[in-house]
Every structure is written in C-alpha cells, then in structure tokens.
Assembly symmetry: C2
Homo-oligomer: 418 residues x 2
C-alpha cells in the first residue's frame, strides 16, 4: 500500500491567538517518524466549526486520489466551543452514540466525587459520544473518547483530545497498534545515539551532508537538538547501513553515547545510593533545578549553594579571596575550590561546581562570554575540572553549562559501571 | 476595507518532523492580536517546494474573493533546502534582484571577518535577493532580506526569515508600520492587566462567561496563561467599556496588577540598590535561576542555599531540628527559620525561602501535594510567611511556587514606592 499522506490538525482558538503553544503536533510527528512516517502538513485552526469543516472536506476530497491520514486534536471537551464531534457528523452524515464503557467510567468518576449520574451535564456526557461505525479509542486519563473515522479508501480521520496527557496515552496505547494494523509495512530497524557538545547544524554539515552518498542510501535520519547535545535517530529496513553509520559516528565524535543522560543519572544515583550537592554561579540554580526535576530526587540531592557573588563564594564555600583575585571567579582554581567547599559543607559523594560568564556583558578577550568552568568531586575524593566556551545567548549558555555538568556526572557514573 | 483573512505559514522540515517547535507562528498571532487582528489558520510545511507552491497557489486563489494576508517564515537561508524565493518567483512569474543595501551589509560582515567579497558563495548571496516590484523588509539582525509580495487586491504574501530573533525584529520594526499603512483601521484602545494566583479556565468561566453580555459588547479579549498568573488584554474602539471591565476586575480579583512582575523586580532591585538571597527546598534552584535570568542580575542577586534535605536546612540555614520535627519541613515555622537563616548568612536586604511538596509523592491529608510555604524577610528585618496549595503536576507546582515568590517580592517593592 502507498504510504498515507499525513496531515496533523490542532484545533483551539488559544493556539491561533498565540495564547498557547501547540506541542501536540510536534510530539505526534516525532512519534510517527519513529514508526517510519513523515508528516506532510501541520494545520492549526481556531474553534470555528465552518473553518474546521471546510478543511476536513478538502482533505476528504484529497482522499479520493490517494490514502490520507488526518490526525486531529482538540475540540472534544465539554465546553461550548468544542466542535469536533458536531463537525465530523456533518462531514460524514452519520449520527453519534454514547460509548457504554465510557459512560460507566464517567458515572464512577462522578460517584467517587459524591455526585449522582443525574448531575452529569449533557455537554459533559457528550464527551462519551462518537460517530456510528468507527473504531473508538479509549481514554484512560480523561473522559473524552477518541475515534477513527473512515474518510475514503485506506483513508482515516483520527480525532483525539487536545489535553497532552490524554492525547499521548491514547496515541501510544490505542492509536499506534491500530495504525500498524491499517498500514502494515516492512520491519524498520532503528538506532538512537546521543552526541554531546555539538550543535545540530555542524552535525548536519560535517556528518550527514559529507557522508550522504556513502552512508545514507536507504536510510532515514532525524535529529532532535538540545542545549549541549543532539539526539540522532537512524532508520532502515536493513541493519547493515545503520551499523556502518554508527561506526563512522563513533570514529568522528568521541562524546557519543547510547543513554539518555538525565534518566541514567537519576536511576544510577538511586540504585547506587549516592548523594550529590552543587555550587552554582552563572547558572544561578538551574543545575539544582534539573537535578530535582524527577520525583524521588530527594534520595540523592542533598542541596547546594548559589554563590553568585564573589563574597558568597568565599563566605559559603571558603574559596580563598587570593584565588578569586589571582585567577578570577571564572577559572580552574575557583571551580576546584568551589567543588572542595561543597564537599566540606555537605559531605555528598558527588559535588559539582559551575562558574562562568553567561553574558551578554562581562566577557573579555581571554575569557569571552560563554566561558564556563565546571568542577566535579567524585566519590574517591578527587576533583576534576573542565572548561568550555559555550555558544548561544545567556539562556543557551546557562542551559548548556548545566546539561554538560550532568553529562560529566554521567561519564563518571558510567565508569563505575564498566 | 474588509479585515484580511490572515494565514501564518511556517516552513521547515525540522518543524513537521517534530524536531523543533514552531514558536514563530504563536508569537506573530499574539502581536497581530495586539494590533486588533485574528488569525484564521496556521500552516506548517516541510522544506518541499511543491507542497509550498501548491499551498501558496490555493491562497492566491482565495485572494480573488477577499483580502488575504499570508505571513510566511523560513526558507530564506543559504542552504540547499531553502526554497522560499524560488517558490515565490514561480508563483508570480517574476525575476529576482539583489538588494544593494543588503549586498553592502553582507560585504561589510565578510570584511570584518577578514574575508573578501569574492569569498561569498552564490547561495549566501541569494539571501540578498527579492522578487522585482515588491516592498523589501530590511534585516538588521541577520542577512536574509524579507519582502511583501502582492498576491491580489488588498492581498499580500509576506516572507520573513525563520530565525526568531531576525523575524521578530523585522516584524516589529519593518512589517508592522507597513501593515498599518496597508490596512488602516480605527484606533484601538488596549488595556493590559495581570491577575495572580488564578488559572485561565476559572477566569474565563467566572469572569468572561459570567459578564459576557453585560461587559463584553464591542470588546475583544485575550489571555495568556502562565504558572501562577494570567495576562489579560482587552481591546475596543471605545475606552468606556474597557474602563467598566477593569473596574469589575478590580472588585472581583484582589491580586490584580498593572506591571510585569519579572521586569519590575529586576528594575527596582537595581534602581533601589537592594540585594536579595534565597533558600529553596522543593524548587531546587528554580527561584535562583529566575532571579538570574536577566543580564545585570549580579548587581542584586548575591546567592542562596538549596536546602533540599532536612540536614541541609539545619546545617546550612540553622533551622532547629526541633522545628523540623515538631512542625515538619513544610511549615510556617520552617519557612520563617529558613528566611532568618538566609539573612544571617548573607545579610541580603530581601531573603526568600520556599519549602513545599512538589509531588507526585509525599502528600498527606493535612499537607496535600502542592502545599507550599514561602517566607520573605524584608529590608526592615521582619519576616512574613504565606501558604498556598498550588495546582498542577510537579513542574507546575515548582513554577507556581517560584513565580509566586517573585510576586510577593513585587508586592513588597511596590509598597516602598507608594
């Protein structure tokens, strides 16, 4: 079967008014890429039934010429401006019915809140309705039921809630198996690698463009760029070209790894019963924030020091004012003294210090904006320091510095596990 | 003249592959709303000249029936997959020419990097090209020139770079005056207010829906939701209904203000030469991070303590273990002792402490997930404490707590200025 022409539609006036960012479409496109599919078009529409209907009609017409898959989110809620069901019924000429399982679930939710079935407003009950003769997609997070409405030969309109947590659960658990059934395809092999301290454009130029003819025949590639690292995905129906790519990558980039640093750090600090403390200057708390993003981080993160001023570096962490004067606040010596100071005050197994120039001001020829020193005291008591010149604006430099500090922590944890 | 039918197009395979989030469209929609215009549709397209051309053709056709304004970003760069100029030339049947001013600017940039004009690659030079007979939009941040191409009676296709910093500057400085000239309209009056510690949906239900008939005749409204606060915008050609709305808002919501808290805090700490230090538990550094987001924050932010564990609350901030045992780490007493401890260690004018339960675990019936105590020591030496139960997930609670701490700081700074 021909690969479907995929269109993602997000409805919601909050999106087209710029009040809220549509993160659903990108998330779905990413998931679809991992299944081996590319999206042809994103569409964002306000809560306007006429605009939505005319868009769906045009797509239904397109489905007369080729397989079309439309993924639409939003408009399934209980408020006045939720028009999705009504619009799809107009498009198909069908009637709707209330899905028994969803009705019972709604009833239980009401009862658990001490309310009765009769309390349920018609607009709330409407969320359990779907068009006749379509595949329903259960909602295990919220109330609104999703559905897959046929719109032509091998063509479907999928409607899902716009609440990201509901959509994601429904997409992964209900929709993906259905899509694999509807559009069967050869088995894809996929490889994922993370490259640290390199940017997306440099990677594209130096790796993808340079080796395109030699390595990328019959291979699809994708890259997600983040501050300090990129995540690279490669797909093929044949595993051999993927192995050649990975081999080449490993020769070209020493900081290539196969783990998600953030998850690895979280899991290994817990499983190895290790503790960590931080001392931050230019990042102002961002590293501590990242170390406490995951629930359960209290088992390893004991605390830290925000030593933004030189006085605090001295008074809180005992960085000698001699060191600060001779070498400057942004120096190997200060990063080292900070790491030692954190260790003394907290006795944590790992102690990480960051000191740098986030800009836009404060740079010099010898220490330009973006210069960052990171110190890391490891459980054996030794302190290593590393220096970087990070690219980007103030925010980019701070993100880069705190992510890279976590990468250094990852490398040390990884060594313990070899 | 009829208001134009506005469509925003973002091109870039990184967008439709979900590798990068399109923030340009929402930003432009927001700006257009402030000018009194609503967007009918967002479109995201991969770097595929056929798809882009067919979309533009359809919009040009629509322009035969009504005024259409298309704002397109992306595809003006120097790489192979930048197709915007080529596509617009196909659409219009025009030729392009190199804008002299832009060419000179590019030449100067090359010379400042020690390179010669002859070093400029043809694809780089292409960025100075625009179609004949159209209004050009200067780029003062990057290289690619933007342009406004007529596509019908009172209808235009605006092409701008996809790099946000270049697009924003071009939009604000070059495009907005042009749009005001092309589509003249009655003078709009606009009022902006911030409401703290209230959510968007509650505001819509309790204020907008409730007072729709009575207050919102001839008034457009918009709201931007954030963690801990919402920004409300009201527009009308008549100032009287706006005044009635503001009056009603002020009776209904005590935490209504006319300032951007983050900017106000930054500016006033600097101008009044005040210093600040923090002590964070559940936010793990997020408050410190926010206080150092702006360049120049080193003039007021001295530093702080991340006292995530009880031991650190005791050893770093001197919170008595008695207090921690009797009242718990999340309590008025602990928040107060933390604020005093910060003050003792740093001597800062303002000292803010945060301690709470970010979840998802750790909640009890008496102290559910979301419970947060904030302590604030003001320059007069007194310490006030405030408690909240913030909604949302772990991330939401932490954002809420740190933003609200800044709101408390704002309120205190504001009082000094009455």
């Amino acid at each position: 079967m021909e690969a479907p022409y995929i269109v993602i539609i997000s409805t919601g006036s909050e999106i087209t008014a710029g009040r809220s960012l549509d993160t659903n479409s990108g998330w779905m496109a990413n998931q679809l890429f991992e299944l081996g599919w590319k999206v042809k078009k994103f569409i964002g529409l306000p809560d306007d039934p006429d605009l939505i209907l005319s868009e769906l009609k045009a797509l239904k017409q397109l489905a007369e010429t080729r397989p079309v898959l439309v993924l639409m989110t939003g408009g399934l809620g209980p408020t006045e401006d939720d028009y999705t069901l009504e619009t799809v019924l107009k498009l198909s000429g069908k009637k709707s019915y209330s899905v028994e399982k969803a009705k019972i679930r709604l009833q239980r939710i009401y009862e658990s809140r001490g309310k009765q079935y009769s309390d349920i407003l018609p607009t709330v009950l409407r969320q359990t309705h779907v068009p006749e003769d379509c595949k329903t997609l259960d909602n295990t997070v919220g109330i609104a039921v999703g559905f897959v409405e046929p719109i032509g030969t091998d063509s479907y309109l999928v409607c899902m809630p716009g609440v990201p947590s509901e959509m994601k659960e429904m997409f992964t658990r209900r929709l993906v198996p259905e899509l694999k059934r509807i559009y069967p395809r050869e088995n894809l092999v996929q490889k994922t690698k993370w490259l640290w301290n390199i940017g997306e454009s440099l990677y594209q130029k130096d790796f993808v463009e340079t080796h395109r003819d030699e390595l990328f025949q019959n291979v699809e590639w994708g890259v997600t760029a983040n501050r300090g690292y990129i995540k690279c995905i490669f797909q093929s129906t044949d595993s051999k070209p993927l192995e050649r790519i990975i081999q080449k990558l490993e020769t070209q980039y020493p900081k290539i790894i196969s783990d998600d640093v953030f998850e690895f750090v979280h899991e290994h600090l817990i499983s190895e019963k290790l503790t960590i403390a931080v001392g931050e200057s230019c990042t102002g708390g961002l590293l501590g924030k990242k170390l406490t993003d995951f629930p359960g981080s209290s088992s390893y993160f004991v605390g830290g020091f925000l030593t933004y001023s030189n006085e605090m570096k001295d008074s809180l962490l005992g960085v000698p004012s001699d060191t600060l004067q001779s070498f400057g606040a942004v120096s190997k010596e200060t990063a080292e003294a900070m790491a030692k100071g954190i260790s003394e005050k907290t006795k944590a197994d790992y102690c990480i210090s960051i000191t740098g120039i986030a800009g836009p001001d404060g740079g010099t020829e010898a220490k330009p904006v973006g210069t960052v020193w990171i110190g890391i005291k490891t459980p054996d008591g030794s302190v290593q320091t590393h220096s970087y010149i990070f690219p980007g604006n103030r925010e980019g430099i701070r993100e880069n510095a705190s992510n890279t500090a976590l990468f250094l922590l990852y490398q040390s944890l990884k060594k313990r596990n070899v």
